[in-house]
C-alpha cells in the first residue's frame, strides 16, 4: 500500500512536469477558447485609455482592443482590460498576462528585437514634449536649465530627456514617478517645474485639469515617438491579425467606409478593394484563421481610424489634438494602410 503512494506521487510530479512543458501557445486558439481578449492598456490616460465612473473603458487605445475583439470573437465587449504601468507593460505581454498591448508604447529597435515584442504598426505618430505652468515665464524647453522635471520611469521619454539635456549642456533634477496619475498630482502640487511625456499624453493630461488655460505645452518636440500596439514575438499569425485589423481601420477611412455606411457599402460598393476589405469577394479572413466579415465587424465596433480619432482625442474633444502627422497619406499625413489584395 505504502509503496503505491510513493510511486503514485512520483508519477504525478512527472506528469505535471511534462504537461507544463507542452504548454506552448497559439494565441488565436487561446483567445477563442477563453472567449475574451486580454488587452493591456494604460492605467488611466484620458482620451487614450481610461475607465469612467462605471468602470467602462474608453479611448483611442481602447478602441483598438474593441476592434480586435470584434474581429476575433465577434463581440466588441468581450475584452478584459488589464491596466499596466510603464514598468509592467512589457512583462505583462511577454508573460502572457495580456494577448495584446494597446498602450501608447513607442516602437524602438531594442523593444522590437531584444525585448522580443512585435509592433504591428503605428496608430499614433507622436513626439516628446514639455508642459509648464504659464506663470513660470518659460517659453522654450531650452530655458529649463536647472529645472525639476517629472518623468515616468521605464519609458523611452526618460532616456530622451537625459539625452536632450546632455546635448544642450543643461542640468535638471528628475522626479521619478510610476504612472501618469502620480505625475499629474506631483506636477499640480508644484513638486516639479515641468512634466514631460509624449505630446499627446500632455494634451490628454492637460485636458483633465480644472484650469487647462494656465498650462502651456512648450514648442520643442525632442523625439520621434511612433506609438503602436504590440504583440509577443513568435506568434506570426496573431501578429498578422492585429496588424491587418489596424490596417483595416486605416484603409476604411481612406475608402470612406464608416460605421454608418458600412452595411450599405458591403452590399453595393463597386470598389474591388472595399469589397475585399469587407469580405464581399475573396475570403481573406480564412487566410488568417478568421471568417470573411472580420474586418467589417472591426470597423463597425468603433468606426474607422478617423472616426475613432475624432471621437476620442480629436479637435472636437477636450484633448483637442489636430490630425497633423496622423492624417491619411492622401491628406499629407503618414497614415498609410498596406493594400488589401
Amino acid at each position: 500500500m505504502k509503496k503505491s503512494v510513493f510511486f503514485g506521487s512520483v508519477t504525478a510530479v512527472a506528469l505535471a512536469a511534462s504537461g507544463a512543458l507542452a504548454a506552448e501557445g497559439d494565441t488565436l486558439k487561446e483567445v477563442k477558447a477563453r472567449d475574451v481578449l486580454n488587452c493591456g492598456v494604460n492605467t488611466g490616460l484620458i482620451g487614450f485609455a481610461a475607465p469612467d465612473a462605471n468602470g467602462n473603458w474608453s479611448g483611442f487605445d481602447v478602441a483598438f482592443c474593441k476592434a480586435m475583439a470584434a474581429a476575433v470573437l465577434g463581440d466588441a465587449t468581450k475584452v478584459k482590460y488589464v491596466p499596466t504601468t510603464g514598468q509592467t507593460r512589457f512583462t505583462a505581454l511577454s508573460s502572457g498576462e495580456v494577448d495584446l498591448l494597446a498602450r501608447n508604447s513607442t516602437w524602438t529597435f531594442q523593444r522590437d528585437t531584444d525585448l522580443k515584442l512585435d509592433f504591428i504598426g503605428v496608430n499614433y505618430f507622436d513626439g516628446q514634449g514639455f508642459m509648464v505652468r504659464k506663470d513660470l515665464g518659460v517659453s522654450s524647453a531650452k530655458e529649463l536649465n536647472g529645472a525639476t522635471i517629472c518623468i515616468q520611469t521605464g519609458t523611452t521619454t526618460e532616456l530622451n530627456l537625459a539625452d536632450f539635456f546632455k546635448a544642450n549642456g543643461m542640468d535638471y533634477q528628475p522626479v521619478n514617478i510610476d504612472s501618469n496619475a502620480e505625475g499629474e498630482q506631483q506636477y499640480m502640487a508644484g513638486a516639479c517645474d515641468a512634466y514631460t511625456t509624449d505630446a499627446s499624453g500632455l494634451a490628454a493630461t492637460r485636458a483633465s485639469f480644472a484650469d487647462p488655460e494656465n498650462h502651456i505645452i512648450l514648442p520643442e518636440i525632442i523625439s520621434k515617438e511612433p506609438l503602436g500596439p504590440a504583440v509577443r514575438h513568435g506568434d506570426n499569425n496573431w501578429g498578422d491579425i492585429a496588424r491587418w485589423t489596424l490596417y483595416a481601420l486605416i484603409a476604411a477611412e481612406e475608402y470612406g467606409v464608416t460605421s454608418a455606411n458600412i452595411d450599405e457599402l458591403a452590399k453595393s460598393s463597386q470598389n474591388p478593394e472595399v469589397q475585399r476589405l469587407l469580405g464581399t469577394t475573396d475570403d481573406m479572413g480564412k487566410m488568417i484563421g478568421l471568417d470573411a466579415e472580420w474586418a467589417k465587424r472591426a470597423i463597425k465596433a468603433g468606426g474607422n481610424y478617423g472616426e475613432i480619432f475624432a471621437a476620442t482625442i480629436g479637435e472636437q474633444t477636450p484633448i483637442g489634438l489636430a490630425r497633423g502627422l496622423n492624417a491619411q497619406w492622401t491628406q499629407g499625413g503618414l497614415m498609410y494602410a498596406m493594400p488589401f489584395r
Binding site: K2, K3, F6, S9, V10, V13, A17, A20, L21, E24, G86, Q87, F90, T91, S94, Q110, R111, D114, L115, K116, L144, N145, G146, A147, T148, T153, G154, E158, L159, L161, A162, D163, K166, Y172, Q173, P174, V175, N176, I177, D178, Q185, Q186, A189, G190, A191, C192, D193, R232, H233, G234
Partner: protein
C-alpha cells in the same frame, strides 16, 4: 559462552526499507530529498525552456551597456553615459544609505519610546502606547504614501521663497528651506581646503581623513582614560573626575581643525528654478527614511519594553540596596541583562527595515529596486537576470547585517561557566 549469530541481525531484505523501523526514516528522507530535487530541477528546466521558447537568452551582458537614464540622488558620481552596472551600484548605495540611517534612527526612537512607555507618568505612557499601536497596525506602504502626500501638498514650492514678500520663509536663521521637492540645508565649505586623494572619479578630501583620525584618537584616548580611572578607583576607592578631560579631548582638536581648514556653512540660495549651493535632501529620501524610522521604531519600542520588563524587579531593588543611583542601575544592571533579550529580535527588525526599503519605488526614491529592478529591468527587458541579481544582492546584504549583529549578540549574551 554462547554466541548468537544471526538471530538479532536477520539478513537484509529490500522490503525492510519500508517495514523495518530502523530503515524507514532513512528511506523516507531519501525519497523526500529526491522529490525536492526533482521539483527544483523541473523549475529550473521549465524556466530555461520557456526563456528559450521566447527567444531570450540568460546573460548579464546588458550590465555593461550604456544606461541612458539619470538618477536623482547619487552618492558617487554618475551620469546617463554610465553603464547599467554603475546605476545598479548607485541603487545599492542608496539602499544602504536609507537602511543604515533608518536603522540608527529607528533604534533611537524605539529605545526612547520603549522606555517612556514604562514611565510612571500616565500621560506619557499612554501617548507612547498610542504611537506604537498606530504605527504597528497600519501597513508601511500607507505610511510612506501619507507622508509623501503631506510633504508634497503642505510644503511650499521653491518658488514661494522668491521675491520681496515671499509666501514662505526659511527656518533656523535662514539656513533651512523645506520645499515640496527637497529640504535645502547648508553644505560645508572650507576656506583653506587641503588636497584630495583621487580614486577614479571620486576623491576623498584630506580634511575628512584628518577629522576621522582625530575623532578615532580621541575615542581611544578616552578609553585609556577610563581604564586609568578604574585602576585608581580599584586601588584607592575613589574615582577621579574625568568628564572634563574627555570633553576636552573630543572638542579641542576638532575645534582646531575647524579653525585650520576654515570650515564654514554655505547656506542654500534660490537660483533659477531651485535652491543651489547648499545640499538638497530629496523628499523621496526624507519621506522613506521617516516612514521606515517611525514604523520600525514602533516595533523596536515593543522589543525594548519587553526586554526591560524581562529583567527581574529584584535586580533593580538589589542595585538600589547597594546604593547605586537609578542611572547607574539602568546602565550597569538592567540594560546589560535586557540586551540579551533585546538583541535577537532587534536583528530581525534591522533585516525587515532593509528589505522594506525596497518600497522606495512608491515615492520614486531610486534604490536598488528603482534602478536595477526598475528602470534597468524595463529598458533592457531582462526580467530574469535583474530579479536573480536583485535577490542575490538583498540576500547578501541581509546576511552581512545578520552576521554583524550576531557577533554583537555573542558579546552581550549571558556568559555561562
Amino acid at each position: 559462552m554462547v554466541t548468537y549469530t544471526g538471530a538479532d541481525n536477520p539478513p537484509f531484505r529490500l522490503s525492510m526499507l519500508i517495514y523495518d523501523r530502523r530503515y524507514r526514516s532513512l528511506t523516507l528522507q531519501a525519497i523526500v530529498f529526491i522529490l525536492v530535487m526533482l521539483m527544483a530541477s523541473w523549475l529550473i528546466n521549465n524556466t530555461l525552456q520557456n526563456l528559450s521558447a521566447m527567444g531570450k537568452t540568460f546573460s548579464f551582458d546588458f550590465l555593461f551597456r550604456r544606461a541612458g537614464y539619470d538618477i536623482p540622488q547619487q552618492l558617487i558620481p554618475y551620469n546617463s553615459d554610465d553603464t547599467h552596472l554603475r546605476a545598479a551600484i548607485i541603487g545599492v548605495l542608496n539602499t544602504l544609505l536609507v537602511s543604515i540611517t533608518g536603522c540608527i534612527s529607528a533604534t533611537v526612537v524605539g529605545v526612547l519610546v520603549g522606555v517612556l512607555r514604562l514611565s510612571s507618568n500616565w500621560l506619557i505612557a499612554r501617548l507612547m502606547t498610542i504611537y506604537v499601536e498606530v504605527f504597528r497596525n497600519i501597513p508601511l506602504l500607507l505610511w510612506i504614501l501619507v507622508i509623501l502626500a503631506v510633504f508634497t501638498e503642505v510644503m511650499p514650492a521653491p518658488n514661494a521663497y522668491r521675491g520681496e514678500n515671499p509666501a514662505a520663509t526659511m527656518i533656523l536663521f535662514d539656513t533651512i528651506a523645506p520645499t515640496n521637492r527637497y529640504t535645502a540645508v547648508p553644505s560645508l565649505g572650507m576656506t583653506n581646503p587641503p588636497a584630495t586623494i583621487s580614486l577614479g572619479r571620486e576623491g576623498i578630501s584630506w580634511a575628512f581623513i584628518a577629522f576621522v583620525v582625530v575623532i578615532a584618537a580621541a575615542w581611544f584616548g578616552n578609553r585609556q582614560l577610563r581604564r586609568w580611572a578604574k585602576n585608581v578607583q580599584d586601588q584607592t576607592g575613589k574615582r577621579p573626575t574625568t568628564w572634563w578631560i574627555s570633553l576636552a579631548m573630543f572638542v579641542l582638536p576638532v575645534l582646531f581643525l575647524i579653525w585650520y581648514f576654515g570650515l564654514h556653512l554655505i547656506p542654500p540660495v534660490l537660483r533659477g528654478f531651485n535652491f543651489a549651493d547648499g545640499t538638497n535632501l530629496d523628499n523621496a529620501f526624507v519621506v522613506l527614511w521617516l516612514a521606515l524610522t517611525l514604523y520600525t521604531g514602533a516595533f523596536i519600542a515593543e522589543i525594548v519594553r519587553g526586554g526591560v520588563l524581562a529583567v527581574s524587579r529584584g535586580q533593580t531593588e538589589a542595585a538600589f540596596a547597594l546604593g547605586l543611583r537609578p542611572r547607574r542601575t539602568m546602565s550597569l544592571v538592567v540594560l546589560p541583562q535586557a540586551l540579551r533579550v533585546i538583541v535577537p529580535p532587534l536583528i530581525s527588525q534591522y533585516l525587515n527595515l532593509t528589505k522594506n526599503s525596497s518600497l522606495a519605488i512608491a515615492v520614486g526614491y531610486m534604490d536598488l529596486r528603482g534602478t536595477l529592478g526598475g528602470t534597468t529591468l524595463n529598458q533592457t527587458g531582462r526580467e530574469m537576470e535583474c530579479m536573480v541579481l536583485m535577490m542575490g544582492i538583498y540576500l547578501l546584504l541581509c546576511l552581512i547585517i545578520s552576521a554583524g549583529m550576531n557577533i554583537f549578540n555573542s558579546r552581550v549574551k549571558l556568559r555561562e561557566r
